[in-house]
Symmetry: C2
Subunit: 323 residues, 2 copies
């Protein structure tokens, strides 16, 4: 598959940061940045620029805020290829403020991605417009898509089309709940409303469909594709970047720097942080639920009785009687 319009976005540090409160060393982030640049991937997302009023700077690491000074420490002295890899940061629509974004000329950032729930779409549009007005490219990433009410999503898409200049709007499968038919459904819907924007796919791996759903999106017409090194990301993680780059036949991509940094710098993280397919995540995925409860189970000590009693976990979740 090779389509020149396709853009690949690495979000290892940003999504992986949801597993360790964004506490990565400058050295690690530099290594990831360098590998992604060397691989010819189009965009690298280095973290969030969320509000220090909302997140304690004591509790959260530098990559929850992405101060310009820290970004410069990462990028300084690293040459990118002719196909320059752009730098992205993310703002959460309900946890970030417009004032934290400098004019583009004062920043190393190229792209601002605004993550939002449908209910916060007006906040997201405000932040996205703030970004484009200040000179950045922007995207809006609609999270928890599998739990949206259809007419509200339609309205949000129409608003984005009418009221913003974002380059792309994402289908974000936060719960890893979507099957290929669902991806087709959402891509078709996005196409219907978004006549002037590209469509993005950000998939999670709770049902081992992160990569497959990204391929489904590509075939259906999505051109903005997120991946992370070795799938590092929240809960079961994301579409593995190395698989995505290998699938895409665009000769500008080089998988070798990715293989190297995975073996040397990403794999060692698994000693402290557990991500990837696991039964608790699979259960929240098939039930279309936030992985939070599964992450709590996974965090129990290994000798805890409950930790591997998956039947009990499943029964507890499905026993909630709601009417």
């Amino acid at each position: 598959m090779y389509r020149p319009e396709i853009k690949v976005i690495d979000c290892t540090i940003r999504d992986g940061g949801l597993m360790n409160k964004s506490r990565f060393s400058i050295d690690l982030v530099r290594k990831v940045y360098k590998a992604v640049c060397d691989s010819g991937v189009d965009i690298v997302e280095l973290g969030y620029r969320n509000s220090k009023e909302m997140f304690s700077v004591k509790e959260y690491g530098a990559w929850r805020f992405c101060d310009e000074e820290n970004l410069r420490k990462v990028t300084e002295g690293i040459k990118t290829k002719d196909t320059k890899t752009k730098i992205a940061i993310m703002q959460d629509s309900h946890k970030a403020v417009a004032e934290d974004i400098l004019p583009k000329k004062d920043s190393v950032v190229d792209v601002i991605r605004v993550a939002t729930y449908v209910k916060d779409i007006d906040k997201a549009i405000k932040l996205a417009n703030n970004a484009t007005e200040k000179g950045y490219e922007a995207t809006i990433n609609i999270m928890s898509i599998s739990q949206t009410i259809e007419w509200e999503l339609d309205e949000a898409l129409q608003q984005i089309e009418n009221e913003t200049k974002v380059m792309a709007v994402y289908i974000v499968d936060s719960f890893g709940a979507l099957y290929s038919d669902d991806i087709n459904f959402y891509v078709d819907k996005y196409k219907k409303f978004l006549k002037t924007k590209e469509i993005g796919v950000h998939a999670h791996n709770h049902q081992q469909l992160g990569f497959a759903n990204t391929i489904t999106g590509i075939i259906r017409g999505a051109n903005y594709l997120d991946g992370t090194l070795y799938g590092f990301g929240r809960a079961a993680g994301n579409c593995p970047l190395e698989l995505l780059v290998s699938f895409l036949k665009n000769p500008k991509f080089n998988i070798m720097p990715l293989l190297k940094v995975i073996g040397k710098d990403i794999l060692p993280l698994t000693k402290e942080i557990t991500w990837g397919y696991s039964i608790p995540y699979m259960i929240t995925g098939i039930l279309n639920l936030h992985p939070k409860i599964a992450m709590e189970l996974m965090d129990l000590p290994d000798d805890s009785k409950e930790k591997y009693d998956y039947l009990d976990f499943y029964k507890k979740i499905t026993a909630d009687e709601i009417e």
Copy 2:
């Protein structure tokens, strides 16, 4: 997705046995058997019936041979549901003999699955016909499909159609090399030649596409679907049975016994046996190669320098100059 024709086959013990020379305790196999029966899965494959001339009984465990006596120890006293789970064993076309199959009336086995390379198709047909003549149902599972030469595969399919009474013929993606478009290609080809047989999919997970490719097969018309508990199987493993059962909406399936046995009996195996997605397997998958070389790398001790030098591994494999 619910289609009454669909049959789900658990091959945990058979494919998992490729990772430990089929050395499982009777107790473990009983637990797997019971869980699969309780879940309403259609067929459970308990191992190979390969030749004791070809495999040393000292080196290999009971489930490489599946003597009737051992099968009875597993099934004895376990009640199956009304939707009786059938028992399958596998014969390798080049490593098994017809004489090892008793008349059906003397066996607890219901289904004999013959695994074969295209080049051994005549041997496979002989074994499959031996099985059906002795009263069993049979399938032929064409391995390493991604390395077959097209006219040879076509001819093999035509022979199977003309010369056998097997219920199903499988697309076996031994190397985990296929994408969804490839699955569609092979299902369409099988349909063209096999007017009186069902089509099966046995997928491997080297590119995290085991489950996704099985879904693609279902949508395209395949009705025989293999899975294993927690994906346990050779190298990166297989399509996880729990995901498949959850995807299929047939009310006869019950995921709960599967969740229980995974947590209690399958997960502990990971202490001794490593399967699932890993970069070496991913590399052989994208290169359409047998995972053997990756399995050797994975078997190196953890403190070996080479083990995590994925770039070096990739370079070595791709450096072979062949003309």
